[in-house]
C-alpha cells in the first residue's frame, strides 16, 4: 500500500510539472493579449508601460521560470482583466461549481439507481425497455442543447424556475453557498438536472447490469427461498452488491462532472469556475486559464487517487500492490 502511494504521488508530481510546462507554453503561444487589453488610443509610452507591468516584454523562458517559482509559493500570477490574483479568482468560484456538481451527483444516484434496478429485474418488460431507450437518449443528447430546452420549458414557457444566475446565498465559514436557501435551490435545480442527465444514463446502465448479474447469484436465491420479502432482497442484498461499481464509476466521473460544468455553467450563466474559464479563454486572460487548469489537474489527481483507495476498501478482492504498474 505504501509503495503504491509513494509511486502514485511521484507520478502525480511529474504529471503536474509536465502539464504546467505544456499549459504555460501553449497559452503563451496564443493571440496577443495586448491588443485586447490596451485601448487602441493608447500611445507608445502607455503601451510599453502596460506591457512591462504585465511582464510580457521578457523572453518566454524567463516568464516561465518566474511563473513556476511563484506557482510553488501559491501565486499563479495576476489576472490581466480583473487585476487580482488568478488563483484567488478561481478558488472564489470553486464553491459554486462544487455544490452544482454534488447536487448533480445526488440527482444521478436518486433517479438512476431505482430505474436501473427496475430495468435489471424486469429486462423484457415494457418499462425496462423504455428505461433503456431513455438511457440511450440520455447518452446521445448534447448537454448544452438539453440545457436550452430546460430553460425554454421551465423558465420561459412555464415560468416555474429561474433561467440563470445563482440566487441568494448563505455564507458558511465565509464561503457562499446556494443550497441553503430556497431561492438558491430553485436556481440550482435546472443546471444540476442538466449536468446530471448524462450520469443518470450511466448509473441506469451500471445498476441494470449489476442487478441482472446479482439477481442470479446463489445468495439471492437463498434469500428468496428463506422467504424474505422482495423489498428486503432488493433493498439489502441486491443494492449493497451493485453499489461497488456504481460508487467507483461515480467517483471517477466526479472529475468529468466538474469539467462538464463548463458547458452547463455557460448555458445557465452559473458563476462557477467553468464559466470563468470560458470567459478567460475568450478574453485571452492567460493567468486565469493557467490557474484554472492547474487547479483542475490537481483536483483530478486527488480524485483518482481517492477513488483507487476507496475501491480497495470497498472490494477486498482488489489489492493495490506494487505490481500494479
Amino acid at each position: 500500500m505504501l509503495v503504491f502511494l509513494i509511486r502514485r504521488l511521484a507520478q502525480s508530481a511529474i504529471v503536474i510539472a509536465v502539464m504546467s510546462v505544456l499549459v504555460f507554453a501553449g497559452i503563451f503561444a496564443i493571440g496577443n493579449p495586448i491588443d485586447v487589453l490596451i485601448s487602441p488610443e493608447a500611445d507608445e509610452i502607455e503601451r510599453a508601460a502596460a506591457i512591462a507591468r504585465l511582464g510580457l516584454d521578457r523572453p518566454m523562458h524567463e516568464q516561465f521560470l518566474s511563473f513556476a517559482g511563484n506557482a510553488l509559493s501559491g501565486d499563479l500570477g495576476t489576472s490581466f482583466v480583473h487585476g487580482v490574483p488568478a488563483i484567488g479568482l478561481v478558488l472564489e468560484r470553486f464553491p459554486a461549481t462544487l455544490e452544482l456538481a454534488l447536487l448533480a451527483m445526488i440527482i444521478a444516484v436518486v433517479i438512476g439507481i431505482p430505474l436501473g434496478i427496475w430495468a435489471g429485474l424486469k429486462p423484457d418488460s415494457a418499462a425496462g425497455r423504455i428505461i433503456m431507450a431513455g438511457s440511450i437518449l440520455g447518452f446521445s443528447l448534447p448537454t448544452f442543447w438539453v440545457g436550452m430546452l430546460l430553460i425554454m420549458a421551465f423558465a420561459v414557457s412555464l415560468g416555474w424556475l429561474p433561467a440563470s444566475g445563482r440566487g441568494a446565498t448563505v455564507d458558511v465559514f465565509g464561503v457562499p453557498f446556494s443550497f441553503l436557501t430556497l431561492n438558491g435551490l430553485k436556481h440550482m435545480f435546472l443546471p444540476a438536472l442538466n449536468l446530471a442527465l448524462f450520469k443518470v444514463s450511466l448509473v441506469i446502465r451500471l445498476a441494470r447490469a449489476g442487478t441482472r448479474e446479482v439477481a442470479l447469484q446463489d445468495y439471492v436465491r437463498f434469500a428468496r427461498a428463506k422467504g424474505l420479502s422482495p423489498a428486503r432482497i432488493v433493498g439489502v442484498h441486491i443494492l449493497k452488491n451493485i453499489m461497488i461499481p456504481v460508487v467507483t464509476v461515480l467517483g471517477l466521473e466526479f472529475g468529468s462532472v466538474i469539467a462538464f460544468s463548463v458547458v452547463t455553467e455557460s448555458v445557465f450563466a452559473w458563476p462557477g469556475m467553468g464559466k470563468l474559464l470560458i470567459d478567460s479563454i475568450l478574453l485571452l486572460d492567460r493567468p486565469v486559464v493557467v490557474a484554472y487548469l492547474l487547479v483542475t489537474v490537481l483536483l483530478f489527481i486527488v480524485i483518482n487517487l481517492v477513488v483507487d483507495l476507496l475501491y480497495s476498501l470497498l472490494d477486498p478482492r482488489i489489492r493495490l500492490g506494487g505490481a500494479k504498474a
Binding site: W145, M152, V289
Partner: protein, 302 residues
C-alpha cells in the same frame, strides 16, 4: 469458436463480411438507425443541390424575410419550411450545410485518431516491455482527464478553425484506439495462426499487417463508430462555447448557439431544429454502433 462451415460442398463460402451483414440486419432498430444515418449522410453530401437556398451567398439573403416562423412564405412565395433566422437565411438550408461541417469534423477526426491509435497500439503490443509500459502509462494519464477539458485546452492554444477542431478532436481520441488495438493485438498474437506465420518465416511487417491487423479490426470498428458520435457532440459543444468552428463555416452546434438568444424570446425554431438534426445524427450513429457491438462481440455468438 467460429461456427463450422457446412460440410456439403457448397461453392459459397460464408465470409466474415456476409456473416456480419446478416447479423446486423437482424435487428429492426439497427436497420432504422442505418436508414436514418444514410439519410443524414446523403443530405449532407447533396446539400448544394437539395438545399432551397445557398445560406452563405449573402446576395440571396433578404433581411425582409428574417425571423419567419416555420412553414411561412416570404413575399416572393419562397416557403421557409423550418423558418428563417434574423438575416432571412432559410434554416433548412443552414442545417443541411451545417451538417456537412459537423460530419466532416466527426469523420475526419475519427479517421486520423484511428490511424494514429492503430500504429501506436500495434507498436505497444508488438514491442512489449518498456516501450509498451511507457505508451500505456501515457494513454492512462490522458484518459483520466475528460475529453472536453483536453479539447478546450488545445483549442484555447490553437484558436478557431475547422482544421484546428479536427486536430484537437484527433488528439483527444487517439488514446481510446491505442488501448483497444493493444489489448486486441495482445490476445491475437498468442494465437496459432500467428505462430504458424512465424514458423513460415514471414517478415514481421507482413505478419503484423496481413495477419494480426485484420483480426484486431472488429473491436476497433465498434469503438470508432461510437467515437464518431462523440466527436460530433464534442465539436457541437465546443462551437457552442465559442472556441470551435468560425462563424463563416457554422456547424450544427454553432447554429444552435446563435439561436440561443432568440429562444428566450420565444423564437424557438432557430435553435431547436438544428438541435433535432444533431440529435437524429447522433442517435442513428449510436443505434448502428450498438448493433455492431452485439454482432461483432464473440462472447455473444453461439
Amino acid at each position: 469458436m467460429t461456427a463450422a462451415s457446412p460440410v456439403s460442398a457448397a461453392p459459397k463460402v460464408e465470409t466474415p463480411l456476409k456473416r456480419f451483414v446478416v447479423g446486423f440486419l437482424d435487428s429492426r432498430v439497427a436497420m432504422l438507425g442505418l436508414v436514418l444515418l444514410a439519410l443524414v449522410v446523403f443530405s449532407a453530401l447533396l446539400a448544394p443541390w437539395i438545399a432551397p437556398q445557398d445560406p452563405y451567398d449573402l446576395s440571396k439573403l433578404d433581411i425582409m424575410s428574417g425571423m419567419l416562423p416555420p412553414g411561412s412564405a416570404d413575399m416572393d412565395g419562397n416557403v421557409f419550411w423550418l423558418g428563417s433566422d434574423e438575416q432571412g437565411r432559410d434554416l433548412l438550408s443552414a442545417i443541411l450545410y451545417g451538417l456537412r461541417t459537423s460530419l466532416l469534423v466527426g469523420f475526419s477526426s475519427t479517421a486520423i485518431a484511428l490511424a494514429i491509435g492503430l500504429v501506436i497500439g500495434m507498436v505497444a503490443a508488438y514491442a512489449g516491455g518498456g516501450t509498451d509500459a511507457t505508451i500505456m502509462r501515457l494513454v492512462d494519464i490522458q484518459l483520466s482527464f475528460p475529453a472536453i477539458l483536453i479539447a478546450l485546452i488545445l483549442l484555447a492554444v490553437l484558436g478557431k478553425g475547422v482544421d484546428k477542431v479536427i486536430v484537437a478532436l484527433a488528439a483527444v481520441q487517439w488514446a481510446y484506439y491505442a488501448r483497444t488495438v493493444r489489448s486486441a493485438a495482445l490476445v491475437e498474437r498468442r494465437k496459432e495462426y500467428v505462430e504458424a506465420a512465424q514458423c513460415l518465416a514471414l517478415p514481421k511487417g507482413r505478419i503484423v499487417l496481413r495477419h494480426l491487423l485484420p483480426n484486431c479490426l472488429p473491436p476497433l470498428i465498434v469503438v470508432a463508430t461510437v467515437q464518431v458520435a462523440h466527436a460530433i457532440t464534442l465539436e457541437a459543444t465546443l462551437s457552442f462555447l465559442g472556441v470551435g468552428v468560425p462563424v463563416t463555416e457554422p456547424s450544427l452546434g454553432m447554429l444552435i448557439a446563435s439561436g440561443f438568444d432568440y429562444m428566450l424570446s420565444g423564437e424557438f425554431w432557430v435553435s431547436v431544429f438544428p438541435g433535432l438534426a444533431l440529435l437524429i445524427t447522433i442517435v442513428s450513429i449510436n443505434l448502428v454502433g450498438d448493433q455492431m457491438r452485439d454482432v461483432l462481440n464473440p462472447r455473444l455468438q453461439h
